[in-house]
């Protein structure tokens, strides 16, 4: 690698040398060009070449640093995305149910993985219900929904101390409309990182 670089550098020096020689040959017709001038010119040329080379090396270095930073940034973004996904991906329930459906369990497995990779994080599991049914019962049902997610995560090896539950019953709907579409969005567990 380095050798190649040197070859390149020497080539860079030699080729312009030839060019200068040829141009000088032409100029040699001119009688006023002296040997000293020639030598001075050559020296200047050389310095210039060196300067350029250094510049390039610097550029290269900068580029490499940039690349590295970008990579790091991408990784960071990925981490943040994972974190956001963890917080934003709710799990949903059927009416008056608190059992976890297969797709829900898949989501929870993902969350467990994330929690395993992020030792420091603790999570609050919020249990919610749709507006149907009565407030009091829904408070208990929301609690149960949060509990069932919590228990599932514990089974997947997450320390209980990292998991807290809060039931909001029907007090905090995600979708305030009064139809099945909204209700199905409201029967959920929401995950909040402390």
């Amino acid at each position: 690698m380095k050798k190649k670089l040197w070859i390149w550098l020497s080539l860079l020096l030699v080729i312009p040398g030839f060019l200068i020689v040829t141009s000088c040959a032409k100029k040699a017709v001119k009688p006023d060009i002296t040997q000293e001038d020639e030598a001075a010119k050559l020296a200047a040329e050389k310095a210039k070449q060196e300067e350029i080379a250094r510049q390039r090396a610097l550029d290269e270095k900068r580029r490499q640093l940039d690349e590295k930073r970008l990579k790091e940034e991408a990784a960071m973004r990925k981490i943040i995305a994972a974190r956001n996904l963890f917080m934003n991906e709710d799990i949903y329930f059927d009416f008056d149910r608190s059992d976890l459906k297969p797709e829900t369990q898949k989501i929870l497995k993902g969350k467990a993985k994330w929690l395993r990779n992020n030792f420091g994080e603790s999570v609050i599991i919020e249990g919610h219900c749709d507006e149907r049914g009565t407030n009091e019962y829904n408070l208990a049902l929301g609690d149960r929904r949060a509990q069932s997610a919590k228990n599932f995560l514990i089974d997947l090896g997450i320390a209980e101390s990292r998991l807290t539950t809060i039931s909001y019953g029907e007090e905090r709907p995600a979708d305030p409309r009064h139809n099945e579409d909204a209700w199905s969005k409201n029967r959920r567990d929401h995950f909040v990182l402390e």
Partner: protein, 445 residues
């Protein structure tokens, strides 16, 4: 032998004929029967003429008008009475007689009034003196008469005290006139507890949380109130003295919800889920656990006690759907009460002890039902096709039920009789009102 028998036969025949004749003669005085089984008027028609002003001054007249109107309204609120329109009176209001010896009761029976309340009012130096009398117009008898004296500001209290007398004479119960209703309202943007009088008047805010406050519950001396609040971020139980504002907090892991006071005791039941499952516990008034009442894998929530405190009804989904169960607190035996429908919650035990009101879901609607505690007759549906109706609560005399309903869009508090008649909105406040809880009689207020 033969002759004898013939004589015997003839004798018998004769006796028979005589009996028959007597029977016929008897029937001469008998009469037909017809069935009368459908009263058209399902309330007691009562006349409440404007009270007589003793001095006749303007202020006095105004107060008389106000007092008699309040009396009419308060009596009407109970659902027992039909107030006869004053325009139908045969008696000149200026020449109203208020004492039994002067009253011509025919004037009142003639317009269908079965009861009559007369009153007189005397105002002097901001002190009013009222004499109020309740008459049976058909018998021409004074049922009860009272004299009240106090500052003008206490007029409302005086009138309500007399209403209490009237109801007491008719039902043997003091009624609702000194009771209050606690409820949850979003008038201040956040859910907070408010109190108002039995008829929805004078609403006042009780809690000033910036979170969510739910499920108010009165102690049976009406001095304490327990409720659920998210003030600390999760549903905790607050037990507060209404006047002194001191109290206790139960803030265990999980939910701490649906308090219900044990009648006559400084202890209450509530649902706690610190064990990982929601169970009903018996707590002291200071928030210490006395014992666990339910023990079941399912949800157990919303306790309510029989008036004698021996039994507790609650909601459990142990059968797969929320239903109401009754637990005998001595034996711990649990019996399922509701079998109609798949979603029956919010039980509230009548102060009379015989019925439980609850809200049940059917055909996508939630309605109020009452059911006999013995569970032997089918539940009676009290609300029909009028939004969702939840959280029934009995008045202290068991004659009325307050509940929340979305019949007019936003959720508001409504009142009806124990038979579902006379459904009306209790009060109109901004925001939504839910979770009404009728207090016992407030003795010292």
């Amino acid at each position: 032998m033969l002759n004898k028998s013939v004589i015997k036969i003839i004798f018998i025949c004769l006796i028979a004929t005589v009996f028959f004749l007597i029977e016929s003669a008897e029937c001469r005085t008998e009469y037909d029967y017809i069935d009368i089984n459908n009263p058209f008027i399902r309330k007691i028609p009562i006349a409440v003429p404007v009270f007589k002003s003793i001095s006749g001054s303007g202020g006095e007249k105004f107060l008389s008008q106000e007092a008699s109107n309040l009396l009419s309204k308060s009596l009407e609120f109970t659902g027992y009475f039909k107030i006869i329109d004053r325009d139908a009176y045969l008696v000149d209001p200026e020449k109203l007689d208020i004492i039994v010896s002067n009253i011509n009761f025919k004037n009142w029976t003639g317009i269908g009034a079965e009861l009559l309340i007369t009153g007189s009012l005397f105002l002097k130096d901001n002190i009013i003196e009222m004499e109020l009398r309740l008459y049976d117009t058909f018998k021409g008898l004074l049922i009860v008469g009272k004299r009240y004296k106090g500052v003008v500001n206490n007029q409302r209290k005086m009138i309500h005290r007399f209403c209490g007398e009237v109801i007491y004479k008719l039902t043997g119960n003091r009624g609702i006139f000194d009771s209050k209703i606690a409820f949850v309202s979003t008038s201040s943007r956040n859910k907070n507890i408010y109190l108002c009088e039995f008829d929805g008047r004078n609403p006042e805010q009780l809690t000033y949380n910036k979170s969510i406050v739910l499920s108010p519950a009165w102690s049976s001396d009406a001095k304490w109130i327990a409720y659920t609040s998210y003030a600390k971020g999760k549903p905790d139980l607050y037990i507060k003295h209404l006047k002194d504002k001191h109290g206790a907090i139960v803030a265990k892991k999980g939910i701490n919800i649906t308090p219900a006071w044990v009648p006559g005791k400084f202890s209450l039941a509530a649902t706690l889920s610190f064990s990982g499952n929601s169970e009903i516990y018996l707590l002291t008034g200071t928030g210490k656990i006395i014992k666990k009442l339910t023990n079941n894998w399912g949800i157990d929530v919303s306790p309510t006690f029989s008036p004698d405190g021996d039994k507790m009804a609650f909601v459990s989904n142990r059968s797969g759907s929320p239903q109401i169960y009754i637990m005998d607190l001595d034996s711990g035996q649990v019996k399922r009460l509701t079998f109609q429908g798949r979603y029956n919650t919010c039980p509230n035990w009548s102060p009379r002890g015989d019925k439980i009101a609850y809200s049940g879901m059917g055909n996508g609607q939630i309605n109020i039902y009452t059911i006999d505690v013995d569970g032997e007759s089918p539940a009676l549906q009290l609300t029909h096709d009028a939004g969702n109706n939840e959280s029934p609560t009995w008045s202290p005399d068991g004659s009325l039920i307050a509940f929340s309903s979305t019949r007019e869009g936003p959720c508001r508090i409504y009142v009806m009789t124990a038979y579902g008649t006379d459904q009306r909105c209790l009060l109109a406040l901004p925001g939504e009102q839910t979770d009404p809880e009728w207090s016992p009689r407030v003795i010292d207020n």
